[in-house]
């Protein structure tokens, strides 16, 4: 399981596409699989693209969605874990 102290960056083999204000599509170029990110996941993805640490991504979620620390951390870790399994991010 990924921890909040690990460095995570967007995988170079991913094409992301804004579908709407609250939806982004990801295409993994090697597997050729599409993925869709919902509103919360979009903000986490944008944080990763901006080079934020996972802790800062959690703080952004807390600020913007008015959620508890535990919930924000859980959301970030679960999403990043899934993104890593699908080859959409790289984790140091």
């Amino acid at each position: 399981m990924i921890t909040l102290d690990q460095k995570v960056r967007v995988h170079p083999d991913v094409v992301d596409t804004r579908i709407s204000d609250d939806e982004i599509a990801l295409l993994q170029l090697e597997s050729k699989n599409y993925f869709s990110l919902n509103t919360t996941a979009v903000r986490i993805w944008e944080s990763l693209k901006e080079g934020m640490s996972l802790r800062d991504a959690c703080r952004r979620l807390q600020d913007e969605f008015d959620v508890a620390t535990e919930q924000a951390e859980s959301s970030v870790i679960e999403l990043v874990d899934e993104l890593a399994r699908q080859g959409l991010v790289e984790v140091d």
């Binding site: 094409v15 992301d16 596409t17 804004r18 579908i19 599509a25 170029l29 050729k32 599409y34 869709s36």
Partner: protein, 329 residues
């Protein structure tokens, strides 16, 4: 039911290795009054669909207004695009989706490096972004590959990619070769074309997406299928000229204007279409005569090559005696 292929502009936001140089030299967009003339008379001439090409049609300064007018007059529309502007165009397509027949994205390699070598760095990902937008917006899209020596090994991979990305299908077309493409090593020889056609026909039977082949492939009969020659399709260039063929209209040379049949700046659409019909009749008579005289060579069975020669647009081959298509010159 016929359709008109409208070259909305000669301008393009890319500079591809296989494209005619004059595609990038011109600065002209189709004038809106010419479009209005087409829309006013089109239905009476049996036209029900307008397909936009270019250049890159979406860079026309009034693209949104053009789509609005086309749909307002009850025509269906489709377009061929390099995908660079699709994020901007997508809301327009969704607004007029009842009249929308599909978009064809140029994808000249299954691999990013191949496509970008031909069309420019970053362009592959823009096409895939466009495909993603279509997939998640339920918009029908097709890929089109211009076959060259650089991407010929990726034909099967492109069909597989189209399937994975949810495309309606994939279409392959032979390169309209020029002196520039010859110098760049892009041209396939006649034998290489025949070989790739065999592979494409196999794909047509095995792929789970529609696999199409644009006119230009080898045909046993000299009287090959071609929509403009069957008067199912008319071609309008960005200057407002009805031409015999959309492929040839931008091809330069001493006889560059030989396929221009009528200007909508000077005549009605129905008058220009009559000229096309008459010209097709002459073309077919000429061909019948050549076939009867035994003056129809093996390479003439490649339709576009036959027409390029027929219209005097292949004279540059005389300067390239070692080119694989020079044997019949």
């Amino acid at each position: 039911m016929a359709r008109i292929i409208v070259e909305l502009t000669n301008r393009c936001n890319l500079s591809c290795q296989h494209c005619f140089d004059e595609r990038h030299a011109a600065q002209g967009d189709l004038p809106l009054p010419i479009l209005d003339k087409v829309l006013e008379e089109g239905h009476a001439c049996g036209v029900e669909e307008i397909c936009f090409t270019g250049g890159e049609p979406t860079v026309h300064r009034h693209f949104a207004e053009i789509v609005r007018r086309v749909c307002g007059r009850g025509y269906g529309f489709s377009f061929v695009s390099n995908g660079m502007n699709f994020a901007k165009i997508c809301p327009l397509v969704l607004r007029y989706r009842d009249a929308f027949k599909g978009v064809t994205f140029s994808l000249d390699g299954a691999a990013e490096a191949t496509h970008d070598k031909i069309r420019g760095k970053g362009s592959y990902r823009r096409v895939l972004q466009a495909a993603s937008l279509c997939f998640f917006s339920d918009i029908s899209f097709t890929f089109n590959m211009v076959l060259t020596a650089w991407n010929r090994p990726e034909v099967a991979a492109l069909a597989a990619l189209a399937e994975r990305l949810g495309a309606y299908g994939v279409r392959f077309g032979h390169l309209m070769f020029t002196e520039d493409t010859a110098n760049r090593g892009l041209d396939l020889s006649p034998q290489e074309r025949t070989d790739v056609e065999v592979e494409i026909r196999t794909l047509q039977n095995t792929a789970s997406v529609a696999v199409g082949m644009a006119p230009g492939y080898y045909h046993e009969s000299p009287f090959f299928p071609c929509a403009p020659l069957e008067l199912d399709e008319y071609n309008l260039d960005y200057r407002g000229n009805l031409t015999l063929c959309c492929q040839l209209s931008g091809l330069s040379g001493p006889n560059a204007g030989d396929d221009v049949l009528g200007s909508l700046q000077e005549m009605s659409l129905s008058e220009a279409i009559k000229r096309v019909q008459q010209r097709v009749g002459v073309y077919l008579d000429d061909k019948r005569r050549r076939v009867a005289q035994g003056d129809f060579a093996e390479l003439d069975h490649f339709p576009c090559f036959y027409c390029v020669k027929y219209l005097g647009k292949a004279d540059w081959l005389k300067n390239q005696p070692r080119h694989s298509w020079s044997v019949t010159q």
